[in-house]
Amino acid sequence: VGLLLCAVYAAVPTHFVVFRELVLYTVTEVGAVLAILIGVAVYRPAAPTAWLLIAAGLAFTSIGDLLFGVYEVIGRNPFPSPADGFYLAAYPCLAAGVVVAIRCQGRAQDRRALIDAAIIAVSAGLLAWAYIIQPAVSGDLTPFEAAVTSAYPIADIVVLAVTLRFVMGSHWDAPALRLLVLGLFLTFVGDFVYQGDVLGGAGGNTVFVNTTLLLGVVVMGLAGLHRSMAALTAPTEGLSERTERPDSLRFVLLAGACMVPPVVLAVQAIRGERLFVPAVVTATVVLIALVGARFADITTRAFRAADREAALRQYASALLAAEGEEELFAVARRAALAVVGGRGVDIVRAGSGTGRAGDVVVAPVEVRGEVMAELVADADHAGVSRSRNSLAIVATELALALEREGLLATERAAVLALAERNERLAELDRMKDQFVSTVSHELRTPLTSMIGYLQIVLEGEAGELNPEQKHFLEVVNRNSDRLNQLIDDILFVARIDAGKLSIEKEWVDLSKLAREAGESARGAARRTGLDVRVSADDELRVWADPVRLGQLLDNLLSNAVKFTPEGGVVSLDVAPRGGDVRVEVSDTGVGIPKDEMTRLFERFFRASTGTAARGTGLGLQIVKTIAEAHGGTVSVASRVGQGTTFTIDLPMRSDGAEAAAR
């Protein structure tokens, strides 16, 4: 609507004075003021003062325009008039509005923007002095008229300076703020052109001037209506602490501003006008001072940035070297102090409540979503607001270091626990070995005396025995042997369980081992009238542990002897079979029921048919373990009442045999 009104205003011919100047212009301006007020009511900015001041400025302008229009309608044109009072009141309001916005955004400390705005304002001031104020003052105006005339450009330059300061130092990305800035500039441009025209005596371009001014008002009104209008006074992040980024437009602008004094001087010299040497010199000196200040500022910033960077680098390596939470906190505290330049910051652990009153939280130290501490700072300390980014880095790196510390502690604890457990297991292992060794010794020592003395008595060394005594003592002797065998078996199984069965292989003649085993089985077999037949004639070399293999044969044979009734036959056959050798031990004994076959190799299992026989129940487990340790297999076939055959298949060569054979 506002833009439409502007277009209409520009299009309507100049002789419809009442409609144009009074109705259209005032309606448009009042509309803009209302738009801002509606915006304030709807979007509720945190600090509405800035917008209200701008609205007040527009309202004053509107009243001035209304009065001006009335004068125009009635054909009078007094100067100065009350309209000028309202016009001049408008500028401070606009400038104050922008200043409030700068303060609310927390940008009051941006020296760069201040200096840059000042540079441009000074050059603009020189232009105003040369082409507006000087002619006005030197003309035939009364002092009051001259003062009012000069007040306009001065007020314009104040608004321009403040606006530039806002643009250069603040966030004005929001559409509403861009519109506002555009509106302010349009006002400035309109005013400057108007004043130049008026004083240049060429009053012809009033349509352009008035349309520009009206457009500025409309744009400011639109800014107030836009939903992003609250951004004007929203606090923004702290100042960027980086050194200035190259911004070519800004530098061109600044360079142009600095060129103004010599250009003014040159133009005046060429035109043969009077030279304003004092004004030009003053402006030049001020500009040089400002540029100097600007350069000093850039240099200071660069040094500060370098210091902060060095502090952060040192901090990173100090964190790596630190151990334990306390030390990490101390390192981070030192780094934060170094970054801001000495004081005003602290790191307060969560819940410790030691923070000073008046401090603000700059950055939380968050470890896995939990705030462990807070980096707090004295908000009024300039170094703090300058170093917000670096302080945030200090907090983040501290958080990472704390997390790493936590992980390391967990890992250390785990490693320690594991080492302890290993130590305990090793201790248990040692205790088991010790136990086996002790049991072996403690059981065998008494048995040594028993068997030894029995032998002596049985040999008649302690006097002649009658047949009955001799028979009884032989029973004792046999059972002592069994007890000894039982101890051997139990210790052997204990060693298997501990994984300590050692197999020491060499080339062994299995036939010879079989003949020896058969020979020793015959001793027991003779008592029950059994026939032990061994079929192992040819040499049969296998890669095996001779002691273990002998043990295997002994076990199988003594089993067969035990479970075979008087007059039976136990036979041992050893023969090559492909790449393997086959050991078969058969008996004509009691046999094993089918349903018990699968349990045969279980520890302490004894077949129901063998109740009369005595054994440890460990023998077959030992056989199986030895066979498997040699890469062999054990199988069994049996028929109750007819006999049992155990078959062991052993590879002739298992691991390592090839190398040893060469």
């Binding site: 030894g452 040999e459 060693r495």
Partner: protein, 131 residues
């Protein structure tokens, strides 16, 4: 120290074991077979007796207080006076590694407990008869 040979009517055998009954058994068997047997109840006593009495042979238990059979054998072998004395170890241990260890430290023979006294006598005679 001269390598003098002590001439004795009966060969002297040192028997060391912490078990009195076994000691008596060894003594009975060997005395019957014509040896003089001197007895030690622990390793240190055996070491002292071996040095003082210069026995012709020693029968040593492995598991003994103060000084075990392995250590005792090693000590006897390093001492010039007893370095050539034949030694038979008696062991109640099951591990074959122990047997190997016995030979490693310098034993001449070894017998597993429980043992047949006749076998001990046969081995003693075999070693002393060789000389």
């Amino acid at each position: 120290v001269t390598d003098q040979v002590i001439e004795r009517e009966r060969p002297v055998v040192l028997a060391a074991d912490d078990d009195e009954d076994i000691l008596a058994l060894i003594a009975f068997r060997l005395e019957r077979s014509g040896y003089t047997v001197i007895l030690a109840r622990d390793g240190e006593e055996a070491l002292a007796l071996a040095r003082d009495e210069r026995p012709d042979l020693a029968v040593l238990d492995v598991m003994m207080p103060k000084l075990d059979g392995f250590a005792l054998t090693r000590r006897l072998r390093t001492d010039e006076a007893t370095s050539r004395m034949p030694i038979i170890l008696l062991t109640a241990r099951a591990q074959d590694a122990d047997v190997q260890r016995g030979f490693d430290v310098g034993a001449d023979d070894y017998l597993r407990k429980p043992f047949n006294p006749q076998e001990l006598r046969a081995r003693v005679q075999a070693i002393l008869g060789r000389r």
